[in-house]
Symmetry: C2
Subunit: 417 residues, 2 copies
Amino acid sequence: MLGEVRRAACVAVGDELLAGDYPDSNSGAIAVALAELGIVVDRFVVLGDRKGDLESAFYDLCARYQLVVCTGGIGPTLDDVTREAAAAAAGVPLERNEALLAALRESYMRRARAMPESNERQAWFPRGAQVMPNAVGTAPGFRVWIDGGTLCVLPGPPHEMQDMLRRELLPWLRSTCGQGQGIVRHSFYMLGLPESAFSDRAGDWMARGATPLMGVTAHTGILKVTLLGKGESVEGARAQVEARAAEVRARFAEELYSEDDPRPGAAVVRQLAERGATLAVAESCTGGLVAELLTDIAGASRVFEAGWVAYSNESKVSALGVDPSLIERHGAVSREVALALAQGAAERSGADFALSITGVAGPTGGTPEKPVGLVWFGLWQAGRLEAFEQRFPSVDRASIRRYAAHMALNLVRLASR
Amino acid sequence: MLGEVRRAACVAVGDELLAGDYPDSNSGAIAVALAELGIVVDRFVVLGDRKGDLESAFYDLCARYQLVVCTGGIGPTLDDVTREAAAAAAGVPLERNEALLAALRESYMRRARAMPESNERQAWFPRGAQVMPNAVGTAPGFRVWIDGGTLCVLPGPPHEMQDMLRRELLPWLRSTCGQGQGIVRHSFYMLGLPESAFSDRAGDWMARGATPLMGVTAHTGILKVTLLGKGESVEGARAQVEARAAEVRARFAEELYSEDDPRPGAAVVRQLAERGATLAVAESCTGGLVAELLTDIAGASRVFEAGWVAYSNESKVSALGVDPSLIERHGAVSREVALALAQGAAERSGADFALSITGVAGPTGGTPEKPVGLVWFGLWQAGRLEAFEQRFPSVDRASIRRYAAHMALNLVRLASR
């Protein structure tokens, strides 16, 4: 029994995480899910596939936290040692679960494939562990008691982790631990505002002792502002947050684009869909990123009419009808070419809005007049054309492209309100 | 003085990381850089903006590791408390660095802006700390001694962290700690091979006791295989790794696309550039992602001719000349439409290769015959057309799009060898 769990830790296992191949996204997703139960995750730890390190971390964390959720290291290959480490930390041997082994073999048979021998390892668990079935992959998870705490082990691949979290871990936590109380969190997503300007306009809302607490982070043009209310009861915390939230909405009405979905593409797709309007994009320096951010949204087909990646000068002329003399006289990164690209996309697509982006993403190609980071935007709307110029911090190619894509989406958002 | 540093830990600070807003990518980047000096980072820790948690973590980690590298929490806003926590862990007060404050004010003056008052906080450091200037942002970093270890604090925004790492931290580490020895790492990136198939073909190369050690991870179709050699000397470790590397290259010649850059787009751009060939893409379900992955590569303009995001049926017809009756008879996700899209892109661009992608990315729109995850690819090359069908795991929209984009790039890679 867990009793009242309030604080938890997450552990992510994998040499590839320590090697910087990709960051651990599982712990954040688990923290979000546990927050809904009133459980605060206040520490993530990333460790490699070494049994000794894992064993002592499981042991230490279970002494400090009632709940430790671990992801990764339970696959079929020999570099997966999480199950061995969990057994050692719990002071029990590994035992083969015959029912599970039979089920594993059968799932392979159904797909008319022989089970690779290595997969048998996935049927071994620490003695006394409760198995959590895996509905979308082969490696089952498990829960095991280690002194004061419960260690829950889930698979590392994010979609398997998510599925087991929703199907197994959260229902079990809901049934065994008390209801969370007194913690309410709410976030706002804004575009078109630097972090320091937000901070100055927010004033003492951001003081460390403020109630509710406010935090802000900036990421390639997107600002996330989070309110954290804490109180004796959920109602009290919610009242704190709601009072401040109303003030935030009033003060940042223009910049605020969402209170639930951080993706600016989602805000644009939703807004255009509400208006029954469509959009076409002609991209040069962003090379398909704006189209990608829009079509990443389920339902984008209702509003996304067409996209061109007019990367070369030739394709600007042949695919979008830009007058070659404009490129010769003003350069591909110019007000004139941005406008011509937007007009070309509008005429060819018949969309209600057409947006173009042409800029210097670097690392080479910058000049004193047109440095890396300079981007021109064109916006066509009901026959009217407008151009916008922006100089983004010359950080790196990927960031400049992302800054530019976010600004492009914000231009459409502001134009289609 | 650090002496011989062999093991280190990374700490990433920020409520937004614990809230799952985005994952910590700084620690991985630092681990990669330190590995070049022979320093192994074997633990990442993520903590929120709470002084007490940070103080005790700094203290504990510095007792266990000679080097602890922390990122984040040194910005101008009041929720940034890393400097206070570092001072407390070191048992010293914070002091204002007047020279730095003057420099901060001047940098604002040069840009003809008044310094926001909140920025003054960035000129306070633990007494005795060595300041590391920030060449691309306003928050300087610092190094401070905490009992047995050195805590190095860098800014949280990745481009500021990277710049300070290269300019300040690595040179200092090189000058104060002994040369690394006996650890050599080498990675291979492969496409077109499931993890279990790799494991079966790799055999006992993957045994836990193998020399060198081999690890493998899979991510939306990309396999990363890493060899880790350890020995008395760097030469010994390198010899281990090189012998096995030669065997890996021979056994996986077809699947191996890079030994340094994980981005499949980079392999395609490099290979096409070597051949002097160009590429056009017509994307439906991937919605610009293939173009984005290619144009993300510096120098893509030499090979990327043009791209179309033909998301709607109308744009398939109007922008790429697909016969509407093909869509009517076979559906937009079909061999016939994939071939017509590739042909349309080839004719309109004049490129040497033209690739098309049309599929069901979900979450809706699937049918028993054409389920979510079904994707058709068309490839045009010197007048010849080929089609490929693939059913990707129906995980989620973003993963299906990424699987499909990676397979598309692999088709071009294999065709242009």
